[in-house]
């Protein structure tokens, strides 16, 4: 936002949100406009601030685990994985191989569920009503698998520090494989609906361009970075939870516009299916819980673990002073960092493009505000 207090006679300041349906929650964007043209934006965040990082300081390590699900509630399992890996790093333990394989399967399934919600709402913002119904239909099947596995659909609390609490239910592998087979043609169906559609292409092509250098400057990660042509995926770059065992590609595109980000995410869903198939075929036998005491009490120290969440790099930085409660927990949420690029992406564009760009950034306000 340009800091001029005085507006030109043709300029206008407009509040978008916090109750705007296309800001995906309670994001408020102050737009400075010249007619339809955007001269500058300012994001006002914090409407969903719950002080999650502070809550962590008053909870034991195990007790804080359900709270991380409530940051990025669309991809709760990824959050849980990041937190559990960070605490496990502090305790110098590793989850058993069987737990790692199940974690990978569920995280990839969650990536699909998250991307489906993104696709549905993004298309809804642009004006295509149909995809949201189809996407939620497919997402429902993924959520049913979560419910069968751990008993909750959204805020799952699926993983525990040191491994898993729940053993897979009977028919888990069959359910996952059936989902994979059923889901792949559905992705083609979405592509049929959208990829060539002239309104979709017209609204997305060359909108909200963010080049690779700009992405790096802003610290933008995830599909937004990959759509700009940077082949960076933490699952490949610093494999965690046994991702090095699976074969998959990092989909990238060159232009870095909204349309490319759409195509990258569509490819990512296919790659997730590929990973899930490999993981299900080779779930090792063995225990699911590592050697963790009843009371989790890491030594004095700190740990930072970042994982590739559906929205980008999700990092957990935990400091322990040797007590049963963390001294400090800091979360590096992908949505919050990606949102900072909004101004660069929409400056000079039209008001309707703000909606497209917020949609393509795939932000979840629970994670932005924490």
């Amino acid at each position: 936002m340009p800091d001029a207090t005085f507006l030109d006679s043709t300029e206008l300041v407009l509040n978008m949100g916090p109750q705007h349906p296309s800001t995906h929650g309670v994001l408020r964007v102050i737009l400075k406009l010249d007619g339809e043209k955007i001269l500058g934006t300012e994001c006002v965040i914090g409407y969903l601030h719950r002080g999650v990082e502070k809550i962590a300081e008053n909870r034991t390590f195990a007790q804080f685990n359900p709270y991380v699900d409530r940051m990025d509630y669309v991809a709760a399992i990824s959050n849980g994985l990041g937190y559990c890996l960070a605490v496990e790093k502090m305790l110098n333990i590793e989850a058993p191989p069987r737990a790692q394989a199940i974690r990978v399967i569920l995280t990839e399934l969650n990536r699909i569920a998250s991307h489906l919600l993104w696709l549905g709402t993004h298309a809804l913002d642009i004006g295509a009503i149909t995809p949201v119904f189809y996407c939620l239909r497919e997402r429902e099947e993924a959520l049913k698998i979560f419910e069968k596995y751990c008993g909750a659909r959204l805020t799952t609390h699926a993983f525990r520090i040191g491994g898993l609490l729940y053993e897979t239910y009977d028919g888990f592998e069959k359910d996952i494989l059936a989902f994979c087979d059923w889901f792949l043609p559905k992705v083609d169906e979405y592509e049929e609906l959208l990829t060539n559609n002239r309104i979709w292409v017209g609204r997305l092509k060359n909108v909200g361009i963010l080049t690779a250098d700009e992405c790096k400057e802003y610290g933008v990660t995830g599909p937004v970075l990959r759509a700009a042509g940077v082949q960076w995926d933490l699952r490949k770059a610093q494999p965690y939870s046994g991702y090095e065992k699976y074969e998959f590609d990092i989909p990238t595109r060159q232009n870095g516009d909204t349309y490319d980000r759409y195509l990258v995410r569509m490819q990512e869903m296919r790659q997730s299916v590929r990973i899930m198939r490999q993981a299900v075929a080779a779930i090792p036998e063995g225990p699911i819980m590592g050697k963790v005491g009843k009371v989790i009490k890491p030594a004095v120290g700190e740990a930072y673990v970042s994982i590739e969440a559906p929205k980008g790099e999700l990092g957990y930085y935990i400091v322990s002073d040797g007590a049963t409660q963390p001294y400090r927990v800091r979360v590096r949420p992908p949505s919050f960092v990606n949102l900072q690029a909004l101004d660069r992406m929409v400056r000079g564009a039209l008001v309707a493009d703000v909606v497209a760009v917020i949609g393509t950034l795939d932000i979840v306000l629970g994670e932005v505000d924490r």
Partner: protein, 151 residues
């Protein structure tokens, strides 16, 4: 040339319409008619809490060890007990569970050493008052009794 023909004959739009047409078939109806048709939740579903009683003699299984209250991140469980002088054992007197603050994480049922506290498949927890959300021992043992829906 092909691009122009595509533009004139709206092939991209018809391609999309064909997808929606394929999905028109009644066998693709996924909507659940909720109050009339109750969903079957999974076996491991974490819903309303229940304090189990021994079916043989009707006595509570809870040993008043207070582990669930300590495990709860929201501190919403209050367990009170009293020492029975005859048997010299702790006996449960009151057990309150504030479902309005519960996030159904399942840590309390993990902590329970005797499987007395359990999260069940009941999911209809709405009440008319805030006080109604705070469940006492009797409510926890009997479970919620939602009014059945009549067509």
């Amino acid at each position: 040339m092909k691009k122009l023909l595509n533009k004139i004959f709206l092939t991209d739009l018809f391609q999309g319409l064909w997808v929606t047409f394929r999905n028109q078939h009644p066998k693709y109806i996924y909507t659940e008619q909720y109050p009339a048709e109750r969903p079957k939740v999974a076996e491991r579903y974490r819903g309303a809490p229940r304090l189990n009683i021994n079916p043989d003699n009707g006595e509570t299984l809870c040993i008043a060890c207070n582990l669930c209250a300590l495990a709860c991140p929201e501190n919403l469980i209050v367990v009170t007990s009293e020492r029975n002088e005859a048997t010299r054992r702790k006996e449960l007197t009151e057990f309150t569970y504030d479902t309005s603050r519960c996030m159904f994480c399942g840590l309390c049922e993990d902590a329970c050493p005797v499987d007395a506290l359990e999260l069940t498949q009941d999911f209809e927890l709405a009440t008319y008052t805030r006080e109604g959300q705070i469940w006492d021992r009797q409510m926890l043992e009997e479970g919620p009794k939602p009014t059945p829906y009549k067509c």
